[in-house]
Symmetry: C2
Subunit: 245 residues, 2 copies
DNA sequence: GCATATTTGTCCGTATGTATA
DNA sequence: CTATACATACGGACAAATATG
């Protein structure tokens, strides 16, 4: 997750004028934001399942905070689409439906393909960005070798985030973080994480190779195929799960 | 603004499972959201200028609401990037800098060009979307004829929103709404709104014509040139304004 | 359908911490 | 350095909506 790159206010350092002053404040967060961090981890690691209600009373008791503070944290996570706020009923862990998955991949196709297509040569302009992509590929390969498929999934999210980061846009990076967090909600319901991630490890390596050769459009073709396949896999799984219930 | 299309929770109807139940709740909003609506209007119409602080005390007194409720509204608007939240200092109306403008246009180029390029024929698949684009063009032409340049600016925002809406993605639509609101913050500092909008009215008409002919790539070329020019104009204005101060 | 219990929505008062003149 | 103003966070209270029996 690129979340660590964000500052206290959710903005990226480049957005601010006073960089030095910003760095000084980097470690400081409000209680609500720290609470949101805790809850976000619980949600993305599956401790809270999609559809679960987070009652104000239980969470305030567990974390020893006031209701007002917790409600601010809820707002933050609702904006990240990890929680849904139902008026007078409370907040619930977001449930991703097939329509959401289709839209997430629609957006990813637009953003990732645009970013990758712009790579048209082997100039050093892309070198730092491609280094991040390469690191993600290596991490995925390493995790796959060790059979750590959850870790491979994380590396895969990093890989795609690094691809869109080639565009150099703070707003796009932030959006990709949100989409990645949403997708984790789905990944967590998948029974066989290995089958989900294994095929994509070598394909990511191929995409990287094209980019390193300065062939953005070629990489775009592979990437589009990748995204279509990944979307189909998730949608089939969701349909199967719905039949079971 | 496409804001009217959004439901209480900020999600689009298509995101939810129970559409009927959703419609029932469409009119209902929390106090915090109604407060956010009021403040949003005040910000986008310029009553609050960029950089202004919105102190909790003055706003709670004016609107007769509690600080807790106001703080929830602040969170909403901070997420829309209309306010910036500075820890222990309060909330301020967002000030857009050149770096922001460059990024906004970078994102717009990616989204709008992708959406437009996908139009490859004259099939009815695009007809409803293109009708919305056409309406925006007509509204802009009508406003220009009457010399209502602020209105023409609004129609221009609608035009571009309608272009990206061709992609059919709720998430992209929402993102464009946010970018549009941010851009209004800049538009409002421009001294000559006529010079800003007038040249683009006929260019929008041209883009529409290409799309109606099923020539998405052709429209994309015109659109890219449009966005480059608009970005340059805004950046030059911001630079000039900075010199004045 | 009704009455009750539970939970959220909203407000207030206050104590503490932080920034700025 | 002090004083002032303001934001942060807490806890209690009651109203309003919802869920449950």
């Amino acid at each position: 997750m690129g979340r660590t790159a964000r500052t206290v206010n959710g903005a990226y350092p480049a957005d601010e004028q006073g960089l030095a002053a910003d760095r000084e404040r980097l470690g400081r967060t409000s209680t609500a934001e720290r609470v949101a961090d805790v809850l976000r981890d619980r949600i993305t690691d599956g401790s809270y399942a999609p559809g679960d209600q987070l009652s104000e009373e239980s969470v305030t008791a567990a974390l020893e905070i006031s209701r007002n503070t917790l409600r601010e944290a809820f707002r933050l996570l609702a904006h990240e689409r990890l929680l849904v706020h139902k008026l007078n009923r409370g907040v619930f862990v977001r449930e991703i439906n097939p329509h959401d998955v289709a839209d997430i991949y629609r957006v990813r196709r637009m953003l990732e393909c645009s970013a990758v297509r712009a790579v048209t040569d082997t100039s050093p302009r892309w070198s730092t960005g491609l280094a991040a992509v390469a690191r993600a590929v290596e991490n995925a390969e390493d995790a796959a070798k060790r059979g750590a498929w959850a870790e491979a999934g994380t590396a895969d999210v990093h890989f795609h985030r690094a691809l869109t980061a080639l565009a150099g846009s703070p707003r796009i990076n932030e959006l990709m973080d949100l989409l990645g967090a949403e997708l984790r909600l789905v990944f967590h319901t998948m029974p066989d994480v290995r089958a989900l991630h294994e095929p994509y490890v070598p394909r990511n390596r191929e995409i990287l190779a094209r980019l390193q050769a300065g062939d953005g459009p070629g990489a775009e073709g592979l990437l589009a195929a990748y995204l279509d396949d990944a979307e189909s896999t998730l949608l089939e799984h969701l349909a199967a799960e719905r039949r079971d219930q």
